[in-house]
Assembly symmetry: D2
Homo-oligomer: 134 residues x 4
């Protein structure tokens, strides 16, 4: 199992008139967390893309438990329960500053060859950094 | 069962560098569809809120089948399979201009009393317009 | 002079906790208006891009006079005061449902050759449809 | 004169299909920079709002010099050239990782009493922390 944690400060732009973070913005928080998790493993998603690997999202799920509010410094925990093969599944737990769980999420992505548009196995560079955790 | 259909044109702001609609933006498409469905039934979500009823999202799920692209005129079908009680569950099917299914979604919302912050039964005004369909 | 008008309904996603449309979202309203103006002239910005013409923004300005609110059906008037050459300058006036002016804006874009990345003259197809207005 | 600097990492959600940061998203970068500048001075905009002071935007201007790209770690310099009175004007310079200037901006905000909706003088708490710089 691989775990990672990062923090994200809620922006005014991300709130809605209910005074909560708009429900669609959690997808962006998940994205930032995935990218920072990869970076902490020594992998730049930007460079992956430049090397011809796209990672489009196949499925995304969110459960909203408590609202996130403006200026909250959220802690987002990312969990990778299984070594990825053709797909990679990230799970998330989002906590507010009072350490209360406010959101649960899950995203499944696929690895795609940019030129052919066809799904590929998890690239070696990703496999190599993840292997020690499984 | 209640069904409704609306169209949404993909904005440039909603695309990402993959050339697809960013995965988090479907939540906004679902929101617009829910609001237009209610409007077609004679209910303004805006006025519901002004009358003290909030509808925060409890759960949201998306399956991405094909990419939506810039300037696509998407057709979004909303389905309400059950008469809502404490919660309301909307399902969606998103089609592109070639009538291909590109996305499936589902959102569960709860009715909340704005002043107490407590969950309430589906308001009478919503119940009255939906009853004929169930 | 060329003028065009379109309507945009304010989405919940576009509001912030002040209960107003977030100030950065007017740029998207301007974008939609530009694209619909071109479409009404028989030009698809999507196809322009597919034919190798990009239109990045050089400058953008907004004056916020009154707030736009959730579910408002805004009317956006676009004005092209001069025949474009190397650059194109759009001005906007945004009105709410009470016909009150709520926002003024202006965007300058440049035409770019996608392969060379170099600025180009306004494409013939755009020039041809605009000429009758100047 | 008061100056402040912060960094913002470009998110995938903020790019568009041109491969650039969408032009409307700079407004969010400016917002984050303003809020972090205030925080570094010991002022929480969140608490200002809770104490009944709103700061809606009156005017916003951006000049786009070079594109910002995905995953760029931008440096945003904020400059306050004048001691604010009824209005406050922030200027920005955005640099990419190569220290190239990519964007210039300026935002004017007004202080508003939340209950009356009327403009007010810059709150004492803001005046006190800014005075030493002018």
């Amino acid at each position: 199992m691989y775990q990672f944690e990062t923090s994200i400060r809620v922006r005014y732009a991300e709130t809605d008139q209910m005074g909560y973070v708009y429900y669609g913005n959690y997808a962006t928080y998940y994205e930032v967390t995935r990218v920072e998790a990869l970076r902490s493993l020594g992998i730049s998603y930007k460079i992956l893309e430049e090397n011809g690997v796209l990672m489009p999202v196949l499925e995304n799920w969110s459960k909203y438990i408590r609202p996130a509010k403006y200026d909250d410094l959220l802690t987002i925990k990312l969990i990778l329960k299984e070594m990825p093969a053709m797909r990679i599944n990230f799970e998330y737990e989002v906590f507010n500053e009072d350490k209360k769980l406010i959101n649960l999420g899950s995203t499944t992505l696929v690895f795609l060859d940019k030129s052919s548009g066809k799904p590929i196995q998890v690239p070696d560079v990703v496999q190599d950094v993840l292997k020690p955790y499984f």
